[in-house]
């Protein structure tokens, strides 16, 4: 058996004895049952599998599971804290920024990373930051609106914590 891999998943410590070369996406979806992380293309083209690793968005279909050893992984299931929704989740709901919802977890986590580096993004910056995430239903304009409205709330939250 390979050496166990330990990391934090949504705030809880995880210890796994798995082949470290396997992709994080499949370990999350199968062994760890975090099915909010979606398979869309398997090649990093669509962003449906986005997760946060040490607070930065990463495509889990490309990340080897051994690369998260000792790190903190957050999936869409763990984005809300203490039962509260993250402002991005609220804004996606209030703006109806989804249709089928399959790309939604990846969109929200990518937007999280965007707001982390650009707390007050312009519309153009949002478009550039989100361009690697695909939505087939065409909810794009509402996703932009949601990110813009969430940005204010995220800034407020940051300044109070």
């Amino acid at each position: 058996m390979p050496d166990p891999i330990s990391f934090k998943l949504n705030g809880k410590r995880v210890r796994l004895e798995v082949d470290g070369n396997r992709k994080l996406l499949w370990v999350l979806r199968t062994e760890l049952e975090q099915t909010g992380t979606k398979y869309g293309c398997g090649s990093g083209f669509c962003g449906a599998c986005m997760v946060l690793i040490d607070d930065r968005p990463v495509r889990s279909c490309l990340a080897r599971v051994e690369s998260v050893g000792g790190k903190e992984v957050v999936t869409i299931e763990g984005l809300g804290k203490d039962g509260d929704l993250h402002p991005l989740q609220k804004a996606f709901m209030e703006n109806d920024a989804m249709q089928c919802g399959f790309c939604t977890p990846g969109m929200i986590l990518t937007a999280y990373g965007l707001l982390r580096s650009k707390p007050a993004p312009s519309r153009e910056e949002i478009i550039r930051g989100m361009d690697g995430n695909l939505c087939r239903c065409g909810a794009n304009t509402r996703i932009i609106d949601a990110i813009q409205s969430a940005a204010t709330d995220v800034r407020k939250r940051r300044s109070t914590t």
Binding site: R22, K23, W26, R29, T30, E31, E33, Q34, T35, G36, T37, K38, Y39, G40, C41, G42, S43, F45, C46, A48, T75, I76, E77, L79, G80, L85, Q89, F92, M93, E94, D96, M98, Q99, C100, G101, F102, C103, T104, P105, I108, I126, I127, R128, M130, D131, N133, L134, C135, R136, C137, G138, A139, N140, T141, R142, I143, I144
Partner: protein, 706 residues
């Protein structure tokens, strides 16, 4: 009803639990059903299953064979039910796409959910309300004429304290009622929930990752299957060696003729083991490609049928001062939903249950039953959330494969397509050709319209302009064909046929407007008598701020209109064309839509926005590349769907028409996107694009020709 049905109904009521269940027995007597049938509907449920159930806690469950793939019936159907039943909207639960619990349904497509199922649901809800009034009358000892229903309770108008809730009335039943006479449906002026803009009801699950799609269902002991696929359509398996895969610990291999699958407890391990299979295929020589496909299609096109005709084409030609002959081309387009096809099958106690991403769970049930030799009542298909469909999730191949494998290995089996498989097995929108010969007289009146559509299909081929001499020929009517036509499967793609037909028709109208020096909206209005089309076109022009001009005006503005699923749309777009690269930037799209009564204006608006965004793809960048039966576009790096950076400013207008029954909403606004952009490109550059998608290379080539 015969005794088998009675038995089935008892079984069904047992499954459903207590409370009041409302069935609707249609005998073709109801005006609504007659209307639906007149419009060619075979989709209204006529089986024994209930449309709705009222539980003892007062919650109302809407049972529907329709599925939620993003288009929003989870919200709009709940609105219809709550309003006709006088129940609180928040008390309505939706149970969708479960073949054991929901009334039979043909499938979720054709923008039919609101038009046909919705109509029947409203009847059922109104009937349920009648039943509740009767029960309340007995319970309160008050005549029905004095009773009123509101917010899930019935009360005495003379003494409002005398009241009983729906839940209390449902206690200790079950009651099953059948509808025989037409109940009174509410007039739009009485709507309290319908007509209100409502946010999606499934968004909390969708933003928290709790929403389950078919590939998210987990069962103890389940295996993940990866299936051997040929390199090209038409390829035959010649040689097979599975020993490499069998060496991987924990792998099971199923071989059943050409059907070869590798199964494992981990999906990625199964995928890797599949790669260790050595397989050789005989691949037929490639004769057609995405470059020569139209010449091939012209050769093999059937004679066709006349779909519409009036006057005498010879006369029309004689009356014309100028005639225009144009041939338009369209390529193959993929559905490419973000969720690839997936299914989980489980066989227990001789019953097969399959969770599937499908637009037609009842069709899937029948296919699975046939494939594994079960009776249909021994197969249950459950449809979780579907991650996009657009007409592409109807063949149910993955559900059948999962069931076959579950039967073979005696464990639950998941089949989920890779993105590469998704592109390979997609039922593409067919490549097509449209030939139009039209004419206009000295007074600027169209006299001739001879329209022939090859392979796109009939929907949207019949024009709506006043032209005395015209004919529409469809070669053939449908969008699927047997071997020898397309090198792979084709099928319905959001507003099937209509995208290609509207591109051709509305481009041709603009060609004539430009040639005769008339504003394109003026030319259209001059030939319109249908008040719905006039209204929607005027609404678009007014809201956009259109000022008349002859194309090319250099402004980059284009217009197009069309009819789909009973709904009228008109769009105006503004584009900028980069003369050096041929790249088209769509800056603004305004779309006006008249769809009769609007159940959920929010949902309808979002569908329009989605149509406009998705339509940018087939207009500008989406085209399946292939060599014979080999699909070259295997993933999103080659097949370009619209991205954030493609987005124009999108504006939508819903034109009120409460005198017209609700019409379709999921598809109509997409049909205008090809022509509105082609016409705007012409207005910007003078170049006429005759082939979709209008890629930079094609735009540049067209500009060099002008």
């Amino acid at each position: 009803m015969n005794t088998t049905d009675d038995h089935s109904r008892r079984e069904f009521l047992k499954r459903l639990g207590g409370g009041i269940a409302i069935f609707v027995t249609f005998g073709g007597k109801l005006a609504l059903v007659e209307q639906a049938e007149a419009q060619g509907s075979r989709g209204v449920p006529a089986d024994f299953n209930a449309f709705l159930r009222i539980a003892e806690n007062g919650r109302v469950t809407c049972l529907t064979g329709k599925i939620e793939m993003g288009q929003g019936p989870i919200t709009s159907l709940a609105q219809m039910l709550a309003d006709e039943l006088d129940a609180p909207y928040e008390m309505v639960d939706m149970l969708m796409g479960d073949t054991d619990l929901c009334p039979w349904d043909m499938g979720t497509w054709g923008s039919r959910t609101t038009r046909f199922f919705g109509a029947a649901l409203r009847v059922a809800a109104a009937e349920a309300r009648g039943v509740l009034m009767e029960l309340a009358s007995e319970a309160l000892n008050v005549p029905i004429s004095r009773l009123e229903a509101k917010d899930g309770a019935v009360f005495d108008r003379k003494d409002e304290k005398k009241r009983v809730s729906y839940g209390a009335l449902a206690e200790g039943k079950p009651i099953a009622r059948h509808l025989t006479v037409k109940p009174d449906l509410k007039d739009p002026s009485q709507f309290r929930v319908m007509g209100q803009p409502k946010l999606r009801r499934d968004s909390l699950e969708k933003v928290t990752g709790k929403a389950k799609y078919a590939a998210d269902i987990r069962l103890p002991g389940m295996l993940y299957a990866k299936i051997l696929r040929p390199p090209a359509h038409g390829a035959k398996l010649k040689d097979l060696d599975t020993s490499g895969a069998r060496k991987v610990a924990g792998v099971r291999v199923v071989e059943d003729g050409d059907f070869v699958a590798v199964l494992h407890e981990l999906p990625d391990v199964a995928q890797r083991a599949l790669g260790r299979i050595k397989a050789e295929f005989d691949v037929p020589p490639a004769t057609v490609t995405d470059e020569n496909i139209h010449a091939h299609l012209l050769r093999v096109a059937p004679k066709g049928d006349v779909a519409a005709e009036r006057g005498d084409l010879k006369k029309g030609r004689k009356l014309a001062a100028r005639t225009f002959e144009t041939t338009f081309f369209d390529g193959y387009v993929a559905h490419a939903p973000m969720e690839t096809h997936a299914a989980l099958a489980n066989i227990e106690d001789n019953k097969c249950t399959v969770w599937a991403s499908t637009q037609n769970p009842f069709g899937a049930r029948d296919q699975i039953a046939r494939a594994i030799g079960f009776r249909t009542e021994k197969v249950r298909v459950i449809t979780p959330f579907v991650g996009g469909g657009f007409g592409g999730k109807t063949s149910n191949m993955q559900a059948v494969e999962a069931a076959r494998l579950a039967k073979a290995v005696g464990r639950p089996v998941q089949v989920m397509r890779t993105r590469e498989e998704e592109f390979f097995y997609d039922t593409f929108r067919p490549a097509a050709i449209v030939k139009i010969h039209s004419g206009i007289d000295d007074a600027g009146r169209m006299t001739l319209w001879n329209y022939e559509v090859l392979f796109a299909g009939q929907r949207g081929s019949e024009h709506f302009y006043e032209i005395p001499h015209h004919r529409t020929t469809v070669r053939p009517r449908g969008w699927t064909r047997g071997r020898g036509t397309h090198p792979f499967a084709t099928g319905a793609w959001r507003a099937p046929a209509n995208n290609t037909n509207t591109f051709a028709r509305e481009s041709q109208i603009d060609i004539m407007a430009a040639a005769t020096g008339v504003d394109p909206i003026e030319l259209r209005l001059k030939h319109l008598e249908d008040p719905r089309m006039i209204r929607v076109l005027k609404a678009a022009a007014e809201r956009f701020g259109w000022t008349p001009a002859t194309s090319p005006s250099k402004r980059g503005l284009g217009v197009a209109s069309g009819i789909d699923a009973g709904t009228y749309v008109a769009a105006i777009a503004e584009v900028a064309v980069d003369a050096r690269t041929g790249n088209v930037e769509v800056k603004r799209v305004l779309c006006a839509q008249e769809m009769g009564i609007v159940i959920n204006p929010q949902g309808a608006t979002i569908q329009m926005e989605g149509c406009i965004t998705m339509g940018l793809g087939y207009a500008l960048s989406e085209e399946v590349h292939f060599r014979g039966g080999k699909i070259l576009d295997t993933n999103f790096h080659r097949y370009e769907i619209p991205r954030f950076s493609r987005l124009p400013k999108i504006e939508t207008v819903l034109v009120e028409a409460n005198e017209i029954a609700p019409q379709g909403g999921g598809e109509p606004a997409i049909i205008v996107m090809g022509a509105v952009i082609a016409n705007a490109i012409h207005d910007a550059t003078g170049a006429r694009l005759l082939r979709m998608p209008m890629t930079p290379a094609r735009v540049k080539a067209a500009m060099q020709e002008t």
